[in-house]
């Protein structure tokens, strides 16, 4: 049984119906748009791919079959550069060739050395990016810099560094410096400056300004205000972001390595394309373990620095 509504009640009901209807319309329209965009994209992707999705799918695991080494121990031999019983002089089984001798019989296995190289690329880039991003971020913060043009300039500069494709910077310096790790370091560093600079100035803008006011009251100049008023507050967050960036940079330097920046990425690309199963699996295991270790270490350090505060959101580029 429904009670008859008063004039005002009817108006409210009509309004509510309108709102609900519009909301439904938006939802359906949005989903429809998404669906059309998705089907169009899928068709386009499938059409322009070298192998068609449904043709290739039954053969998907053919490739995986090729990735199984002759015996399980081969992976260990590839990882630690031990001689293989199947050695036929080809590149596939030349594990001991890659040994990096330190002194006497002590050597670092090839892939471990390359992994160390990649980690060092990431670490150096993070340090450089942190240092320069640290210097720039205070100039972009609206609570510290009153000149609009300066803030505008620094922010656009950071934005360009962030959006500029790393691969182009790497490619440019590869053309000048030839193959090696330094183009990768330059590319990842420049990107890190942009990414960290942005996160940093947002932290600075959220800082408590009371310390700064106190310093200003006693006549502190700008560098003193920043150094004694702001830096102690924001340093834990800065370090936490830098650690997060280190995780991303380990991955980034692997990828840059694959396109000519040296390190483990290059080794992986070569061994996959040459069908060296044992080497490929050895590298994947090494890479996986390294990334897990770096992630865990950084998560642990970050927890010590800023407690349980969630930073997952800022982890993109």
């Amino acid at each position: 049984m429904t009670m008859p509504l008063s004039e005002a009640g009817l108006a409210v009901e009509r309004h509510w119906r309108e709102l609900a209807g519009r909301r439904r319309l938006y939802t359906i329209g949005g989903l429809l748009f998404l669906f059309v965009a998705l089907s169009g994209s899928l068709w386009f992707a499938n059409d322009s791919n070298a192998g068609k999705f449904f043709d290739r799918l039954p053969h998907f695991f053919d490739f995986t079959d090729q990735m199984i080494p002759r015996d399980g121990l081969e992976v260990g031999r590839a990882l630690f550069d031990l001689p293989s019983p199947y050695d036929d002089g080809s590149l596939k089984f030349d594990y001991p060739e890659g040994r990096m001798y330190l002194f006497g019989p002590v050597y670092v296995p090839e892939y471990v050395y390359k992994m160390i190289e990649t980690i060092n690329i990431a670490l150096v880039s993070t340090i450089i990016g942190f240092a320069i991003g640290f210097l720039l971020c205070f100039l972009a913060a609206s609570n510290l810099v009153t000149q609009r043009w300066l803030r505008f300039f620094v922010r656009r500069f950071l934005e360009i560094l962030r959006a500029f494709p790393e691969i182009v910077i790497a490619g440019f310096f590869l053309a000048i410096l030839s193959m090696g790790a330094i183009p990768a370091i330059i590319a990842v560093s420049l990107h890190t400056i942009g990414a960290l600079g942005k996160l940093f100035f947002e932290v600075v803008e959220n800082a408590d300004m009371k310390a700064d006011e106190g310093l200003r009251a006693v006549g502190g100049n700008w560098p003193e205000r920043v150094w004694f008023g702001i830096v102690p507050q924001v340093m834990p967050n800065f370090l936490s972001y830098a650690l997060l960036r280190l995780e991303i940079n380990v991955r980034a330097s692997t990828i840059i390595g694959a396109v000519g920046g040296g390190g483990i990425g290059e080794a992986l690309r070569l061994s996959i394309s040459r069908n060296h199963e044992a080497k490929t699996i050895a590298i994947i295991i090494l890479l996986f373990c390294t990334i897990v270790t770096v992630d865990q270490l950084s998560a642990w350090l970050r927890k010590k620095l800023v407690g349980e505060q969630a930073f997952a959101f800022g982890r993109g580029e």
Partner: protein, 463 residues
């Protein structure tokens, strides 16, 4: 409130110096960290032999590469013949035997001279004006270069020898007497004088043949000429209208490859879009399994979470190489790589968001006897959905950038094209063009994603 006077403060400082001096341990740690970082950077300098690599770098060419981004060179070549000069241009240049740049002027060839090859023009003398003041005057027997107030006169015996009268100015170089002379005009270009020919490279700002290449009937026309032809009824190609022909010529421009670049850019966009969308769709139900407060089974939680970690930790590069082998090069490989990596990332982020929800709404739903599915639908989803969508949008934008890079290893999209253009070392203007397109796309997506996120979760929280 009691406050310390300065005298009190000093007195306390005298009695308990450790309170005001600051912790020496902290200061020591600060110094140790600083020294450690410096030592590490020194180690890295040695490890990567930075000094040697930087010194061995070909820095001279860096300026040329950078200039190529925004400018182009016109390179006429003037060959010495016994009694005349033959002027020619490289293939694909905007100029040819019947079309010369206005900064080159010619003297009449002697009447007895033999006819030149079809792609060359004969002249008795050639004068090239480089910039406002500098000139190169060429006759079959000598070359006079004027730069500012200084002049360089080179006597030429065609195809035999060149000799300089007097000292070389600072802007000209010659390795040994008799060898070729290189004249430098700074950004405006350079010229190379040899016994056989003079090669002039004159640099201009701007991109060359951006719309029509040398094979197009519209090539070399001014804007008004092209628009005039477009609207006229007289067809250049009887098969299609002039407008369609012009469009076809632009898309198939051999130097800029607009059509291919746009296709590859679209692939990159599609890779990021589909990969991110599928990852969100799969991660959504899995996140409910991984969340402690929804699925009360520690084993299921742990298995799902470790699965996410696995997907995330096998790097996007590995997935990209793997799927390129499985599906062949192209965007499907890229989609699959982004899908796998981001399912892991989203699963982790989503399950953390779900674990942090307010439990009261679920209790309310349960207290009125709702089915388990309804409890999740009305008790959990409304709380987390804006956050989850916002996170997906954030990654959509950043994946557009990642898709560029994994493209370079064969996973489709503009990455490979970019990489190839860079490897040839001569197409830096094409690199600049593609970078510009990528920056525009990233900028647009950044703004769309930020605007949507602001609408979803409010301005403050999304920053």
């Amino acid at each position: 409130m009691t406050t310390l006077s300065m005298t009190d403060r000093r007195a306390i400082g005298d009695r308990h110096p450790e309170l005001l001096a600051g912790s020496w341990r902290k200061r020591l740690i600060g110094w140790a960290v600083g020294v450690g970082i410096v030592a590490y950077l020194a180690f890295a300098w040695w490890f990567f032999s930075v000094g040697a690599v930087l010194a061995a770098g070909n820095w001279g060419i860096a300026g040329t590469y950078l200039a190529d981004w925004v400018s182009h060179e016109v390179r006429p070549q003037i060959d010495f013949r016994d009694d005349r000069l033959d002027v020619s241009y490289p293939r694909f240049s905007s100029y040819r035997a019947d079309r010369h740049p206005e900064w080159l002027s010619f003297g009449e060839p002697v009447a007895t001279a033999a006819a030149p090859a079809a792609n060359k023009t004969s002249a008795g003398s050639v004068t090239a004006r480089i910039g406002r003041r500098d000139t190169i005057e060429i006759t079959p027997s000598n070359v006079v270069v004027t730069r500012g107030t200084e002049t360089l006169a080179v006597a030429v015996v065609p195809e035999k020898s060149i000799s300089v009268e007097g000292e070389l100015p600072a802007w000209a170089t010659q390795k040994a007497p008799g060898e070729k002379i290189t004249v430098d005009f700074g950004f405006a270009g350079s010229a190379q004088i040899d016994a056989d020919d003079v090669k002039i490279r004159h640099r201009f700002l701007g991109w060359e043949n951006f719309f029509f290449d040398a094979n197009s009937p519209f090539w070399g026309m001014s804007f008004s000429q092209v628009t005039g032809l477009m609207v006229s009824d007289e067809r250049i190609d009887p098969k299609m209208s002039n407008l369609a022909l012009a469009w076809d010529n632009v898309v198939n421009n051999a130097e800029w490859q607009h059509g291919d670049v746009w296709l590859k850019l679209a692939q990159t966009i599609v890779m990021a879009f589909v990969g991110t969308l599928f990852a969100s769709l799969l991660a959504f139900p899995l996140a409910f399994m991984a969340a402690r407060n929804i699925t009360r089974n520690r084993l299921v939680n742990q298995v799902t979470k470790r699965f996410f970690d696995f997907l995330r930790s096998v790097d996007m590069l590995i997935w990209a190489l793997f799927f390129t082998r499985a599906f062949g090069p192209g965007p499907i490989a890229g989609i699959a790589a982004i899908f796998f990596t981001d399912t892991g990332t989203f699963g982790k982020l989503y399950s953390e968001a779900i674990e942090n929800i307010d439990d009261k709404q679920r209790e309310g739903m349960r207290s009125v006897g709702a089915s388990p599915a309804s409890v999740q639908r009305y008790g959990v989803v409304p709380q987390v959905l804006p956050v989850l969508v916002s996170q997906s949008l954030y990654f959509w934008e950043s994946n557009t950038r990642s898709a560029t890079i994994i493209g370079a290893v064969g996973a489709g999209g503009i990455g490979l094209k970019l990489w190839e253009a860079m490897r040839t070392n001569s197409d830096w203007e094409n690199v600049a063009y593609m970078v510009l397109l990528i920056l525009i796309v990233v900028f647009i997506f950044d703004n769309i994603s930020t605007a949507l996120r602001h609408r979803l979760i409010g301005k403050k929280a999304s920053d």
